[in-house]
């Protein structure tokens, strides 16, 4: 059976599942419960500057009957006294020495504050530090959080202060509220950060209350931009993760992936795109620590099925398959095929293709069931019909190459082949 044992910069954990720096990791009572449930590690909720929180703090996006597709928060870093946090961290490490204990930090913006904080945290016996350069609300106004992460120069400077003092591994957490995460990632790595984690939350407004006209979450009749996370942000996180995994500088350090991971499948995808560990928060905020069993079992079963003995067998495996558009093969062509035995005649493929794609599906009226057939000569192989079909493998995409050889855009242009020919 595959082992999930994980080594991240020498920080070991029984599995790659860490709890992200967030409310589930803000005190001993939660963290001990998480470790008892089987979590591999935690990133303790950010310590540092003194703060005061508001009420309410969260709002969510529900989609088609499913609650919390995305979660938005305006909570700040830990609002508990530092000495209590430090004492509790120490106790958690003593009680669960085999688990990873990373502490998230966000000090006031000067060398002393950072270095003093680091020394105090290292005294707890913590295994690593995570620099919170990403919090998008509340702290930015004071020059912290995303204000650091959004400016590579400031990020480099702060990381340098940190590296002067730190004796344990340092992971820099990146904000997604930038056009590219790579410049700040590079700055952190070049300044000595041994690891990177991403993404932090994305600035958002989850919605507006249609009775009060006040955006969510409502704090006494006003709202503010919050940080968005949960399943909705996963595709964005995967893209940013991939850019870090591909960059020549940032790809040299191990990555801890974050952003909407709810299931073992999400975790496997993050790992295939370069994450050594994955961090989870929203799924736990919705369902509690008990989800760890399913995460570990699912990942382990999939690894057995694929013949992976340890996670390093597949970490980053998919990174090279993400390429530039102009390197894609223009001779590769697929067409949709509808399995008449599986078709339930819902017409969703037809109307999607008819109104939004290439009118490549024919409708033969019937009562009450119409018959839908692909017009292969019209089909551009876009996948839309397959995506909207509610029946698994009813629509399959069949390969029908245009030419036998690999033909990319540059070559296509050089040969002067016809454009706009559909």
């Amino acid at each position: 059976m595959a082992t999930l044992h994980t080594d991240y910069l020498g920080i070991t954990s029984p599995n790659p599942f860490w709890l992200a720096s967030a409310p589930p990791t803000d005190k001993k009572i939660n963290v001990l419960r998480a470790f008892e449930a089987g979590w591999g590690g935690v990133v303790w909720k950010t310590l540092g500057s003194q703060v005061k929180n508001v009420s309410s703090r969260y709002s969510a996006v529900d989609y088609h009957g499913s609650r919390v597709m995305g979660l938005n928060n305006i909570e700040l870093i830990s609002d508990r006294p530092l000495d209590i946090n430090l004492r509790e961290i120490k106790e958690c490490i003593r009680l669960f020495p085999d688990r990873a204990m990373i502490v998230s930090l966000m000090a006031d913006n000067d060398r002393n504050s950072w270095q003093e904080l680091i020394r105090k945290v290292e005294d707890t016996g913590a295994h690593g530090l995570e620099l919170n350069f990403g919090c998008p609300h509340g702290m930015t106004e004071r020059g912290m959080g995303a204000a650091v992460g959004q400016d590579p120069q400031i990020a480099r400077l702060v990381t340098e202060w940190v590296m002067e003092a730190a004796t344990i591994p340092v992971i820099t957490k990146l904000t997604p509220n930038v056009h590219s995460v790579v410049p700040t990632g590079r700055a952190a790595v070049e300044a000595g950060s041994q690891g990177l984690s991403l993404i932090n939350t994305i600035q958002s407004v989850t919605g507006v209350d249609l009775d009060t006209f006040i955006p969510n979450p409502n704090v006494g009749g006003k709202s503010t931009f919050g940080g968005y996370c949960g399943p909705a942000v996963k595709p964005i996180a995967l893209k940013m993760l991939a850019t870090i995994a591909q960059d020549t500088v940032t790809s040299k350090v191990p990555i801890s992936g974050i952003g909407g991971i709810s299931t073992w499948k999400d975790a496997a995808e993050f790992m295939l795109l370069g994450s050594t560990t994955v961090q989870i928060c929203t799924a736990v905020m919705k369902h509690g620590f008990r989800i760890i069993d399913g995460l570990c079992e699912g990942l382990s079963n999939w690894m057995d099925e694929k013949g992976f003995r340890q996670t390093t067998d597949f970490i980053g495996l998919s990174v090279p398959t993400l390429t530039h558009w102009e390197d894609l093969d223009l001779n590769y062509h697929i067409v949709a095929r509808i399995d008449p035995d599986k078709c339930i005649h819902c017409g969703l493929c037809y109307i999607a293709c008819e109104d939004a794609s290439h009118q490549s599906i024919s409708l033969t009226p019937g009562h009450p069931y119409n018959t839908y057939v692909i017009k292969e000569e019209e089909c551009v192989g876009c996948n839309l019909c397959k995506l909207v079909c509610p029946v698994d493998s009813c629509i399959t995409m069949v390969e029908e190459r245009v030419g036998p050889e690999y033909l990319n855009w540059k070559e296509f242009q050089q040969r002067g082949l016809p454009l706009n020919d559909h």
Binding site: C346, L348, Y350
Partner: protein, 447 residues
Amino acid sequence: MIRDHRLAKDEYDRNFSDIHPPFETRDAALVDANRCLFCYDAPCTKSCPTGIDVPKFIKQISTDDIKGSARTIFLSNIMGGGCSRVCPVEKLCEGACVYNLMEEEPIPIARLQRYSTDAAIQRRWPLFTRKPSDGLKVAIIGAGPAGLSAAHVLSREGVDVTIFEKEEKGGGLMTYGVAAYKVTPEYCAEELDYILSLGGITIRYGAELGKDLQLEQLREEYDAVFLAFGVGLARRLDIPGEDLDGVVDALRFIYAIRADGFPSVPVGDKVAVIGMGMTAIDAATQARRLGAEEVTLLYRRTEAEMPCTKKELEIARLDGCRIHWLAAPGEVIGSGGKVTQLRCEKMELGPPDASGRRAPRPTGESFTLDVDMIIKATGQMPFEQLVSSGGLSHRGGKIDTTGLCGITSLPGVFAGGDCVNGGKEVVDAVQAGKLSAAAILSYLQTV
């Protein structure tokens, strides 16, 4: 022995409580609304005789536009609330739901439809406004589903409508002919009030065509006449003993349950119900629920040919009704003028008849049931005499119409619903009323 007051009040209440209870909460409705796939050219809509845009009204529920949802339903079917209770949906919309093809439970369309329409009726949402009266007048005979449906469309367009109804209440068979556990008399009254709240529709109760008023006179006084008087006379069995005490007509029996209150409706100890349509099931199950000890349904064909739905049959079975397939009534035997036995012919199926179903024929064998009450539910006869005396072209009392829009052989006279089709579902009558109203509106423009 046939007697009333067989049960205690709470037993009646329990036996006649709503068989399709509504969604209790918005969340519950949303679970099912969100399952809807929003099919294109949806099979459910195509299987609804009134063509309700089902995916649209369900989407409106799932997006918290209940008013919009109710309007979508009522626009196609003004009795969409009643139909959500009485429609044989497993043969119509729900039977066509594509989830059936995935071997999954279909969307509970009727229940969702009830969710929206109940809200509209309870809160009396004014979802339609009437165009100003244009002075045109239409007379409608019968305040049943066909008549009300036509009246609503006509009044919306500014026509002044007078409905002549021979009973004391409107709603037709919805009010008088359906099992009480499907739709309550109170609901029928609320639904009727809601339909009439549009304005422009007057109902004159206790006015019967051929007795209190004549077609000729109506044609003179009104710009058009719409006949929607349904069917009425119970089909006779034409067997010896049919007139003995204890042989009753199913619709009369159901009518009494709805009009008189459960305790005062007499029912026998051992009841035979003849027929296997929806009315037969409604009569049989309600006889049990009124306290009959033994109820036996007799049908001359087999389960494969029965007109009721499987779900209806299941209700009868769960109520403990016995079923004799391939059994036809042969003779009612009595003593002292009262029913004591029913002799039944054993049948077998021969070649298909005109309806396409295999025709039953006697085997020569018979058996006898001890019964003290026999309920006849073998269909109703059209009002043939009324129709022919009015000078209308007809076939066996069913009024001839052109196409689907209710144009009869008499200029300015239209007809729809059971009096044309011989007796179908409420939803078919609503559609007939709607189509006839459209035809009447075009006719009115030409006169």
